[in-house]
Symmetry: C2
Subunit: 167 residues, 2 copies
DNA sequence: AGGGGTGGTTGCGATGTGCAACTGGTTGCG
DNA sequence: CGCAACCAGTTGCACATCGCAACCACCCCT
């Protein structure tokens, strides 16, 4: 399951875990879509992940320490939760999303959203990390009255998605 | 060579290009190691990329608009250069590197370097982007007297690498 | 002509992917 | 209880990709 690292490089260490396309998409659905169960991840995946691939990736992510499987026994609704290491993938995800937003055709209105993400980026990301800690680790977030960062980030990406779909 | 996108999501768009492990490692060697030629990339790769895989990835990255191939005729020294889109991958790379640094065993002395990257991050990255623009696009950088950001970033990662190798 | 350097290509066995069908277990309901 | 529906996966199989090694074609220099 886990193999010896190809090199000691920090980027390589990250790539060996996050370098798989499906791994990132699964984490995206868990973080932005709050999908915690196997079937939710299968059905909600816009890209149509196969069940064997999903099972394989979930195992790998648990083994790598990015997820925990809250076992409820076989046949029951088992839930997957992000660990702190998994939550810390959010900055990578946002960097990827920004890149995806910027380097695409039909980007007129996307620029606005992209700049929103870039300028308010660090604060939004920090706030969303607090939210994820609350959802997945049970840690109460410091400022519960603040507007939901995840909604803002998700709205930015969904707006980009809609804009792209409408052209 | 290029397939239809699996979805309109911005993160998916990025993952379809950058989601391959080798693609990120090739870009890393070009950006941090300033390797521009096929043989340099083969020989310098710590992970040992095979020539057919490297050829395939270089083609894909050129097709995706992240690299240009400065052709000098077959059999001559052809050089690969980053495009602006390729240069903009640097923030993703740094986010990955930070994650790789943080979530690893034997992290005592790495913490220092990681915080250097996190705190001085945006400025360092912006400065290194200017350097890459100079190297690959021929754009003179605004402040040539400034210390080389790429050296600082590279030193941080190499220190992490050595620290890891010595344990 | 020949040796060394360039950027690759080709063959082949091992490994991984994607699709569909299926398994074993639990839950809900009459 | 009986039975359908739902759950989290597993299995089988055709196909594609990976990784390794050997091999090409081309150019420059002596």
């Amino acid at each position: 399951m886990d193999t010896a690292p190809r090199s000691g490089c920090a980027i390589n260490a990250a790539v060996e875990v996050l370098g798989d396309p499906w791994a990132m998409l699964v984490l995206r659905d868990i973080m932005f879509g709050n999908r915690r169960h196997f079937r939710e991840l299968v059905a909600g995946s816009e890209e149509g992940i196969a069940t064997n691939i999903l099972a394989s990736r979930l195992k790998q992510l648990v083994a790598a320490g990015l997820l925990t499987r809250d076992d409820a026994g076989r046949g029951q609704r088992a839930a997957y939760s992000l660990t702190e290491a998994g939550i810390q993938v959010l900055p990578v995800m946002v960097a990827l999303g920004n890149w995806g937003l910027a380097h695409r055709q039909g980007e007129r209105r996307l620029r606005v959203r992209a700049e929103l993400l870039r300028d308010g980026g660090p604060e939004l990301v920090a706030a969303m990390i607090d939210e994820l800690r609350e959802l997945h680790l049970g840690v109460p977030r410091p400022d519960p009255g603040a507007p939901r960062a995840s909604d803002q980030l998700r709205a930015a990406y969904e707006a980009a998605l809609l804009d792209n779909a409408s052209r």
